[in-house]
């Protein structure tokens, strides 16, 4: 038997009586690390409801729709008909003249923002350990999401091609 780490044992050889005083013994064991948020009688009961299910479903459905929306968007913007060099104010104005592309972009904005925000929400739920960290990260996330969605929607609906 060989030890690669020092294990404190009472009566260890070559250790003076003062250094040998163990911090913990049978009557004073070291505090155990509680399991994180161990379920106790004080834990608030039942956070049931269909929100988590709706969020889970939304991620699957919006993901499928986004694949179509985003790939077509990227093709039009970056690949077809001259590629990225054609993009300018006139090109955007021309596309947004059609209600079809307005709805397309609006749908893409909403779905992508909500999909991404919900994904980050689950990441925060999984990784942020302290309630305060959670609160602040989620507050920041929701603020940024609402701001971006509102701003984007405003631009799509109030876009004026004759702006000077």
């Amino acid at each position: 038997m060989s030890t690669d780490t020092t294990v404190t044992k009472s009566g260890g050889s070559g250790v003076g009586p003062v250094e040998d005083v163990a911090l913990y013994d049978v009557d004073h064991p070291a505090p155990l690390i509680e399991a994180p948020r161990k379920r106790t009688s004080k834990t608030p009961r039942a956070t049931r409801g269909n929100f988590e299910m709706a969020a889970w479903l939304f991620m699957r459905l919006s993901g499928v729709v986004l694949v179509v929306l985003v790939i077509t968007h990227l093709l039009i913007q970056l690949v077809l008909d001259g590629g990225v060099s054609k993009i300018g104010f006139a090109f955007v104005a021309g596309r947004w003249a059609s209600p079809f592309w307005q709805v397309w972009d609006l749908l893409m904005l909403w779905l992508a923002m909500l999909h991404g925000a919900n994904g980050l929400r689950t990441v925060i739920n999984d990784y942020a350990e302290r309630p305060n960290t959670r609160l602040w990260l989620k507050g920041l996330l929701y603020t940024a999401t609402v701001f971006t969605i509102l701003l984007g929607t405003l631009v799509i609906f109030t876009f004026d091609p004759n702006i000077r």
Binding site: T3, T5, T8, L23, D25, P36, R39, N50, E52
Partner: protein
């Protein structure tokens, strides 16, 4: 033609030669000595066809009697000796030394996500709390029949996989969502709910689905498949969780 004496000598030589030297690197924790867990190495001669549990027995019986771990049946049925061996949750009694590269030190740790009480022993209470929460017992209404509750082989087959669970906690303690937050029900509880939700004789399936529809229920599963990989009984745990999710959606809409 060998004499009997020579035979015996040869047999002894053969018997000793198949032993190999293995280093067990064990995560030790004793709250009566120190607040910190430390790695401790033990070297022993062991037959590579023996199990990790036999190695732990040799250490406890011959080298250091203070080594603490759980084991009851020692044959893969009771589910007491789930531990993290070489970084993977396994049953010590079902893991052969030769299968986990004995040339390198074999690391043995307690399962993660549960409070360590001493050495390899953890507090299983949060795990069993989640198990109790899903009501793992038959619920029926009406009068008790005077004979068995009959079931067709197809109906029995529906939940056959999840009846194999031995509650060793290898799956739940391999789940990263459970590590972060002891609130998640965990794979084992969902597997045992699945066993009754899909049982044609049981009548509380809807109630169990409602329990698992919790914020910390099945929707926290990230399908990382750690649980399926860890299960010593070969239960397709992630599949069972997905089936519960599907049941939640299809039974409502």
């Amino acid at each position: 033609m060998a004499t009997p004496t020579m035979d015996k000598v040869e047999a002894e030589a053969a018997a000793s030669s198949h032993l190999i030297t293995v280093t067990f690197r064990i995560r030790r924790f004793n709250p009566e000595i120190s607040a910190d867990a430390v790695w401790e190495d033990f070297q022993l001669e062991i037959d590579p066809k023996e199990r990790v549990l036999d190695g732990l027995h040799k250490i406890k019986w011959d080298l250091d009697g203070t080594l603490t771990f759980r084991r009851s049946c020692a044959h893969g049925i009771c589910g007491s000796d789930a531990m993290r061996i070489n970084g993977k949750n396994r049953l010590a009694c079902k893991t052969l030394i030769k299968d986990i590269n004995p040339a390198k030190p074999i690391t043995v740790e307690p399962i993660k996500g549960l409070t360590v009480l001493k050495d390899l022993v953890v507090d299983m209470e949060p795990f069993f709390q989640a198990y109790r929460d899903v009501m793992p017992f038959l619920v029926t209404t009406g009068n008790e029949p005077t004979r068995e509750r009959l079931q067709s082989p197809e109906d029995r087959e529906r939940f056959d996989d999840t009846t194999k669970c031995i509650l060793c906690a290898a799956c739940t303690s391999s789940c990263p969502v459970f590590w972060n937050d002891g609130q998640y029900f965990g794979p084992a509880a969902i597997v045992n709910a699945h066993r009754f939700i899909f049982d044609s004789r049981d009548e509380a399936g809807e109630q169990r689905l409602e329990i698992l529809n919790d914020k910390d229920g099945v929707w926290r599963c990230r399908t990382t498949f750690n649980c399926t990989d860890a299960c010593p009984r070969g239960i397709e745990v992630t599949k069972a969780i997905q089936e519960v999710k599907r049941a939640l959606i299809t039974r409502r809409f």
